[in-house]
């Protein structure tokens, strides 16, 4: 009895917080604004900011208000507390952000309990959307880009490959989904190695790869200084395209990495859902506006996740005519499709996960500048793990 009164009181407080928010839609953004992943958080935030700047802060007659919360890193306990506070104290209508998987996993329960739409704008582990029926994802999953890439690699004429991935969750996921796609198509993995996540010396690993003499190497490593280091190690030992094909996920050859890798990057083939250089009016406009708003910094996967996440929120609100209940918004988001700067994308009505085109790109020199040139597209790719047994 006492407990019921207490809960009722608390709900009263919660509602009192939301009462003056009649004309606003509050969106709580939870990302790492500080700490080792601050860059991801800030790029994601810049994507959100740009969308609001371009489309105004009013939707369906209501004003959009963003409340930002910093997790400081991959801490699910902090993310959960922030989500609880956003709901209870700030009275937010929508939870958004989530650059890192642990953040999304931490907050998922809150979305379920509070019945709020939760837009995951990055966190790329497959299972995230299964943790709450209120989660919708607008980024990518690692299997989504790597599984079809494995198939594509075999079809491009490579029959055996070696995998070299960083020894952590995303690395293992990438390795498994690439290997699965590759072997299902008929290819053979002749060797697999794990490199340390922090400060590895690649020379010994690359030497091992050389010894195995594969037709191709699949690489997954964290960004930062590592792409340049591995590019150098590969070039020093003569493991370069076209003799040995180098495969990887998009981060390996993102613009900053290309700059530091230099010529060693030529011919590397990567798979990704967003290509900065893709020549498309929507994308060109997006890139230009983004650079203008962010001192020349180019958008990356985090930016596009935030940008499309906001698009989803805006469109869902339009469809519900400003109704912010989680059920209505999730219903509106299911099956939604649109043209994003990344290309055509949609939300799978069953899994609430993103469906999109996967681009296969090769590093080439265009007008004296190294670029990721799209050499193939695989349209309408779903995450291959949903519905499959783990």
């Amino acid at each position: 009895m006492v407990k019921k009164i207490v809960v009722a009181l608390a709900m009263g407080f919660g509602l009192a917080g939301g009462a003056n928010a009649q004309e606003t839609v509050k969106i709580g953004v939870i990302v790492p604004y500080s700490g080792p992943f601050a860059d991801a958080g800030n790029q994601l935030d810049a994507g959100i900011e740009l969308y609001i700047q371009q489309h105004g802060d009013e939707v369906a007659g209501k004003k959009i208000e963003i409340i930002r919360k910093d997790t400081g890193g991959p801490s699910p306990d902090v993310a959960k507390r922030l989500a609880q506070e956003l709901v209870v104290r700030d009275g937010v209508d929508i939870l958004a952000g989530f650059a890192l998987t642990p953040e999304a996993l931490g907050a998922a329960d809150v979305a379920t309990q509070a019945e709020k739409l939760m837009v995951v704008m990055n966190a790329a582990t497959s299972v995230v959307t299964e943790m709450s029926p209120y989660i919708v994802r607008t980024s990518v999953t690692i299997p989504q880009v790597n599984y079809p890439f494995g198939k594509w690699a075999y079809e491009s004429g490579v029959t055996q490959a070696y995998t070299l991935v960083a020894d952590y969750g995303p690395g293992h996921d990438a390795e498994q989904s690439f290997a699965r796609g590759f072997t299902e198509a008929g290819g053979e993995i002749i060797g697999a190695d794990n490199t340390p996540v922090a400060n590895p010396d690649f020379s010994a690993y690359v030497q091992r790869v050389r010894g195995a003499d594969p037709e191709a190497v699949y690489i997954f490593i964290p960004g930062g200084a590592q792409p340049a280091a591995i590019g150098k190690a590969l070039a020093e030992r003569g493991l370069t395209p076209p003799d040995t094909k180098i495969f990887g996920q998009g981060e390996l050859t993102h613009p900053e990495a290309l700059e530091s890798m230099g010529e060693n990057a030529l011919g590397i083939i990567t798979t990704f859902h967003y290509t900065l250089e893709r020549d498309d009016p929507l994308n060109n406009e997006f890139v230009e506006a983004y650079r203008e708003a962010n001192d020349g910094r180019s958008p990356d996967l985090f930016s596009i996740g935030g940008y499309d996440g906001m698009h989803l929120i805006y469109e869902a609100l339009k469809e519900t005519e400003g109704d912010t209940s989680g059920d209505a918004l999730v219903e509106a988001a299911k099956g939604m499709s649109w043209d994003s700067p990344r290309g055509p994308m949609s939300i799978d009505p069953e899994t609430r996960d993103v469906v999109q085109t996967v681009y296969i790109r090769e590093v080439q020199e265009v007008d004296g500048v190294l670029q990721n040139v799209i050499i193939d597209e695989i349209p309408n790719v779903k995450d291959p793990l949903h519905g499959a047994d783990e």
């Binding site: 609880q84 931490g106 299972v127 969750g169 293992h172 996540v197």
Partner: protein
Amino acid sequence: MTTVSQAATDPHSWLRGQSRWSYFEIAFWVIALLPFYFFPTYLTLASQIAITALFAISVDLVLGYAGIITLGHAMFFGLGAYAAGLITKAGWGEPLTGLVFAGAFAALIGFLTSFIIVRVRHLALIMITLGLGFLTLELANAMSWLTGGADGLRGVDVWPIFGWFEFDLWGYTAYSYSLIVLFLGVVAARRIVHSAFGLSLRGVRENLTRMPAIGSPYRFHLQKIYTISAALAGVAGALLTQTTETVSLETLSFQRSADIVVMLILGGTGRLYGGIIGAIIFMVARDQLSGMNPQYWYFWIGLLLMAVILVMPNGILGGLSRLAGRRS
């Protein structure tokens, strides 16, 4: 620090006098109930502060009382957190036994590592605790089949306390539960530091070589307190798991080990309540500052730390007790 010379009578009555509950302490626990009525939307933060405070007390026992400088105590916090999470995944989600299990597991590891800890002092101690912390973190990262690796442990399912109090969105259960466990932790810690054993720990801290000379086996004392402290840290970690239903590698991180020492120094070491005060100030400041400026709030935290330590080198409680002493 009160000197033993004040005790003109026998040491036992001196210890008894020390262990009496002061008005400040009683006032503190009454104030700790205020969030229920005045800040009902801050209860989740309050529960995480209570958990951090318990962790700080466990560090104070070894660092403040026994002089074991540790930069790796998150190891026990994280082990407790994972133990509590894994036992629910094994199908037993009852929180109180989960707490005991996690504490016992952390204590076991604490006891085993204490054999290394007592062999070294000072800087070497920092390196050893730091190293043990990193080893545990990397082990948990490598054993991703068990711990979930970088993604964190999934599927933690904690049953309601006594089968009735569910962990709610507002944090009523979480704060009540954490506060009660913190209180019990403080009661236990008080008994320890105000016992003859606690006194001999301070002796070890002040002069290690003299302790064996007066017939006190310091290695055994240090191992005992290190094990007790590990258990308390494990319980704190388990509380975090149970109130948030998540566990991540971050519970084992160096950042957590370092932050807790910072909080302890901020509040004042060797005073039990120092850790609690430090945790309150650090976490409330972090919450408020990061709300105001999510990108650059660490700047203000740094400024706050420097300001406090420059004015009060012995921490906030140390500074306050000096002021009080001057007045009388």
